[in-house]
Subunit: 426 residues, 2 copies
């Protein structure tokens, strides 16, 4: 870096683990805990500019984030391509982690690489935010510029019990339709995704049928997180072929997905069997999926998300966006990168409407199911430091039960006999 | 773009076709003309900052550049992702061009898409240069930052007659070794590439053998531009297996390359059968090449080059860089993007040492075969406007014979009976 850019050198990195409240949303592994951990990464430059990113807050992610945060001062915030090698060097040999199941159990087998990429993603976003603010450029301009002025999101429907939230229960088709009506009314979402794998397939088919009747012509998606056998997946596909935009991860693993794909015309989407670059060639060669649901946390940041998009474009595979529980920081990052991708032809998923707590000063404003792309410097968000401190205090005060997301453990607090089911469940 | 960034709006685009002198370098299609056309693209913002790019200057490229230049004012220089759609909209239906052979005949069948991407590349580089200058950032920082501080290039050896240049003739192994010694002495290049397909394979094998003897252990490459049959390719590979770093485009087309690749351990490289994203899946599925030689002109710019690199990384294919006749503008662009690619594990090709004329004020300084990566704003070069005007006057004065590169026509001026040979030639 030339001397004129010395103000872009990282001076300090702040890691703030927090707990945010989360409604009791059901999935095939269990239920969301009352609080979920997130890690907020702040990068502060010598010029006094700060940038922010967020990622998973579970202990295994925090363990990797710490050495990376210690190694960053003295490097330039422009140096995001170098974060991968740096992380590989300083984060140590965490291969011992390989084989565990990830937070929520919904991303297939966890590996050290996957963890590290999710951590790097928060640092990359924080650096891009800081660089954009330091140079008066929106993050999308650091990615080649936006090709649209707003990004479409979809409603993310969940089966749920009543909770300490405003949504009420949704445990049958009528409940799901009611939830969808509220998403439609309050956010204007056009597409609806139902998180399935919770009830036997017949009940979830009935819920999708009810949605199709209530919202004729709207794009509908069903995602059982790999809970079904190949035969069950095919049976559901047959039943819903006329109304599904796509079926998301009906079965677990590339081989099973490929078998389903070969025997149905319903497009299959995934955020489970293609979550790293290493998993791409086999899945594409076997035509296992028609749509990859990208997630900048999984793939290692916004540049890597754009690389995934180029792979999909080259191989004629569609692209949409996956979401796990996240705050306004990641929503802004998702919106910036989505805005740069010409072929993002399905509405992106987001959990965000379920999150009543945030660390940004202004909640994003969905209009007609879309978020406007910010042209303000960086991500275009501001950190609410009081709120961040509050949520961090909650994390400090926690006795340890909430610091790692474990949907099965949360379910056992409701039903002591619960065990996360083996797949295929049906 | 927010109002604070109105100075990043394009005010004017200047297209300057030029003719630059080129030595009589031989290839399988003929010989380089005494002058070769290049097109210099300048983008000037409302804020008064200008950025520069270069591409092929042949008529078919200029025809596409003109409407794009006219469409750009009013758009932001940050908007490089949008250049592809814009070019597709304004450059018209030039499908009529499909099927012609490209300038020099060395890039396979020409299509409207290939032409358009080469034109877009110059506009993208000019926009990135301008943005970097406007915001005090080197171009590599707009691509995620450099991962090395210098980029290695290789010596590009050519058979040639004596010409109006300082190099003298090189028509046999001794001549090629002499040329290599000068490249070694003056530039410090470690790797040597010989442009082959000029003489019968035995003679070119002898030249590579002579290089291996004169420079033991150095990486050596031979590139006959697809002039050989599968059997000839395999025979050459057998003869040179112990000394070749890679064999570049021995045969024409993915099918022939795949057949050669299946029957030799010598790595095959290409800038002929994989020159667009559309050509990637088949070539990778058939293991036709082990190394793709990227070229930001071919692929549509620096962002697209990074996308190609991600494809190669994902599929375990190596990466190096192709070069056609070019000036210091493109050399700077090549160096910036190469600096951002972690897995660029072969020295990049460049014709640059053959070019005695340039439009930049300072010639790049190769040390130990490497160019330092500039941390100055933009590309880190300055346009020599007097020189640009001189070379444009030469273009204006030309009677038309040099405005389109045609190596076969140039050869016919030396040998009236010359016809560009059909492939395979041997």
């Amino acid at each position: 870096m030339n001397p004129a850019n010395s103000e872009l050198i990282v001076d300090e990195v702040r890691l703030t683990p927090i707990l945010i409240s989360d409604p009791p949303l059901l999935n095939t592994q269990g239920v969301h805990q009352p609080y979920t951990p997130r890690l907020v990464v702040e990068v502060v430059t010598r010029g006094g500019v700060s940038g922010v990113g967020e990622t998973y807050g579970d202990g295994r992610y925090r363990e990797l984030a710490r050495p990376l945060a210690e190694a960053l001062p003295g490097r330039s915030i422009t140096d995001v391509n170098g974060l991968f090698r740096l992380a590989a060097e300083v984060c140590g040999d965490s291969r011992a982690v390989d084989g565990r199941v990830d937070a929520g159990g919904l991303r297939g087998v966890q590996t050290a690489d996957k963890l590290r990429l999710s951590v790097v993603s928060a640092f990359e976003v924080a650096c891009l935010d800081a660089l954009g603010k330091a140079r008066g450029l929106p993050v999308h301009a650091l990615l080649g510029g936006r090709v649209r002025d707003s990004v479409e999101y979809s409603a993310y429907l969940f089966y749920k019990h009543a909770g300490r939230d405003a949504w009420g229960p949704a445990l049958d088709p009528a409940g799901i339709v009611g939830q969808a009506r509220r998403f439609d009314r309050e956010y204007g979402f056009r597409s609806f995704k139902l998180k399935g794998g919770v009830f036997p397939p017949e009940q979830e088919i009935a819920a999708i049928r009810a949605l199709a009747e209530a919202f004729p012509g709207r794009p509908l998606r069903l995602d059982p997180n790999g809970a079904w056998s190949v035969e069950t997946s095919l049976a559901v596909a047959r039943e819903l072929a006329d109304v599904l935009e796509y079926l998301e991860d009906p079965a677990t693993g590339t081989a099973a997905m490929a078998e389903v794909a070969a025997r149905t015309d319903v497009p299959l989407a995934t955020n489970m069997c293609v979550t790293t670059f290493e998993e791409v060639p086999e899945a594409f060669a076997r035509d296992a999926v028609r749509i990859v649901l990208c997630d900048h946390h999984y793939w290692g940041g916004l540049h890597r998300t754009r690389e995934l998009a180029a792979l999909c474009r080259t191989y004629g595979v569609g692209l949409s966006m996956h979401s796990n529980t996240h705050l306004g920081i990641s929503l802004a990052a998702m919106t910036h990168v989505a805005a740069t991708l010409p072929l993002l032809d399905h509405a992106c998923d987001t959990h965000y409407p379920w999150q009543t707590e945030d660390v940004v000063t202004t909640r994003p404003d969905f209009r007609d199911g879309r978020l406007a792309v910010s042209d303000a410097p960086g991500l275009g968000i501001e950190l609410d430091r009081d709120r961040l401190a509050d949520l961090h205090r909650r994390w400090v005060a926690d006795d340890g039960t909430m610091r790692d997301r474990d949907d099965a453990a949360a379910m056992r607090r409701l039903d002591p006999d619960w065990r996360a089911p083996a797949t295929p469940r049906w």
